[in-house]
Symmetry: C2
Subunit: 308 residues, 2 copies
Amino acid sequence: MKKETLLIALGGNALIRKGQEGTVEEQFENLKLPIRQIARLSEKYKIIITHGNGPQVGNLLLQQECCNAVPKLPLEILVAQTQGQIGYMIESTLDSEFMELGITQYFITLITYVVVDEHDPGFRNPSKPIGPVYTEEESKTVPYPTRKTAKGFRRVVVSPEPVTVIEKNEIRKLIDSDFLVICCGGGGIPVIREGRSFHGVDAVIDKDLVSAKLAEEVGVDIFIIATDVPGAILGYGTSEEKLLRSLTVDEAALYLKQGHFPPGSMGPKIEAARRFILNCGKRAVITSVDAIEDAVSGNAGTEFVRQC
Amino acid sequence: MKKETLLIALGGNALIRKGQEGTVEEQFENLKLPIRQIARLSEKYKIIITHGNGPQVGNLLLQQECCNAVPKLPLEILVAQTQGQIGYMIESTLDSEFMELGITQYFITLITYVVVDEHDPGFRNPSKPIGPVYTEEESKTVPYPTRKTAKGFRRVVVSPEPVTVIEKNEIRKLIDSDFLVICCGGGGIPVIREGRSFHGVDAVIDKDLVSAKLAEEVGVDIFIIATDVPGAILGYGTSEEKLLRSLTVDEAALYLKQGHFPPGSMGPKIEAARRFILNCGKRAVITSVDAIEDAVSGNAGTEFVRQC
């Protein structure tokens, strides 16, 4: 029987947990939990792994700020650097788990770039905070837009919609050839078309939305979004918390409209899962990093179901 | 007719030329020269691109030194970052050139790691200078071995022999499926085997030697080493310079033994080309970045020939 394809989007906590400093040792240790599950799942499914890069790209930005001795790199190059870094960390963890399980499996990390639309309304309103925290005074001297956030003043960048993943054909071909593929790290390197070529832009694409786009473009069957909570929770942080075990796309749209899920955290995950189902995906599940296998077997997380 | 496979190892000057600061704009501009030739060659050959990362990994080290606000990363993670960075820069340049030429070609950048032997004699004698330059005073306070170089005191790391490229099977399979593959950036991420898994080591593998190893492991036909001089030159820097247009493996070994080619620059290139021919490669040519096509057609560079 033909194996189904599973896309697993790993949230930031797969690498760095709350309260941790984020040393390399911590990141490698944390990765074992999701990667062990993924290694086991690879016996039954074709697998694509995507991942975030928030703290890692933030650290690279901070380092650039500190150091005037070397030329500053634009954001899209830093995203490319984190794809290399995190791709390697995931690969070497996978390697160990596969050896432990006695599984032989081809797997590779692909540098991935993603087209965005230069007319995306997001470009008129940079809103995604990234990188170092400044005082109000400092924020006036940096050469890019900043915004007051809960932590202090931070650089804000545009977060446009993903239009298409450049490497979609390569990824489809690799999946068909039984490769496990790690790609679209940090939402992908954002580029815009200019005539017959592309060039990078200072932007960050949401990794869950790009995962939904990739899932649609390569024909994924099951889309798992792994994060630091058990699923979509109504009244999150209140005494009335309620984990939703299933959601229709209409319910999801309604909850989003009613503001139950904030734009910076659960919102894009709900929207990504909703889009995947609307675009003919079979199953989407939002779950915690420790319950990926349970989510795949239908025993954990928030499952998105079709109406019809 | 079956296409031959060409491995092209790009030296540092493919990205940053002498006297340049090394901005992103400069790097993208410089890449056009070799990449345009490679794009044209891809119509006749299957192609693997490898590349150095000296200035890029040096910059990341410098930034780490400057900035105490974020956890320091070990060298192998920085190599992984440069694989992402340079892989993306090569890919997007290739993309533009392919569109210009109207060529449709699958191509991907692979994060690559390379096994080294923990008993390699290199580990007893860290000798390769990398990263920032220190005063003698400063060099006593840094937590790793340093050595006096022409520029000042610098960190020295081990540079062990490449034993095997972990992704060799993946790369072979991709080449067979007509992918152009960019891999082994910066000599590959150095790892050692430890029981059933690998872990990274603070070392830098020579990118020409790893390219020769990869060429042998995946069965490359022609190995091109592109650098900043026209080929192997006797009496380099003297008034008696003589470009060698061809070299047998025995002549190469003799010249190396006689010290004509220094360890830090032309030496490893000569050795890499020599090993490739000894391991049944058809042709190896050391040439300049602007003469890659001419070297492939036999009209430039230093060609390594078999005795028999």
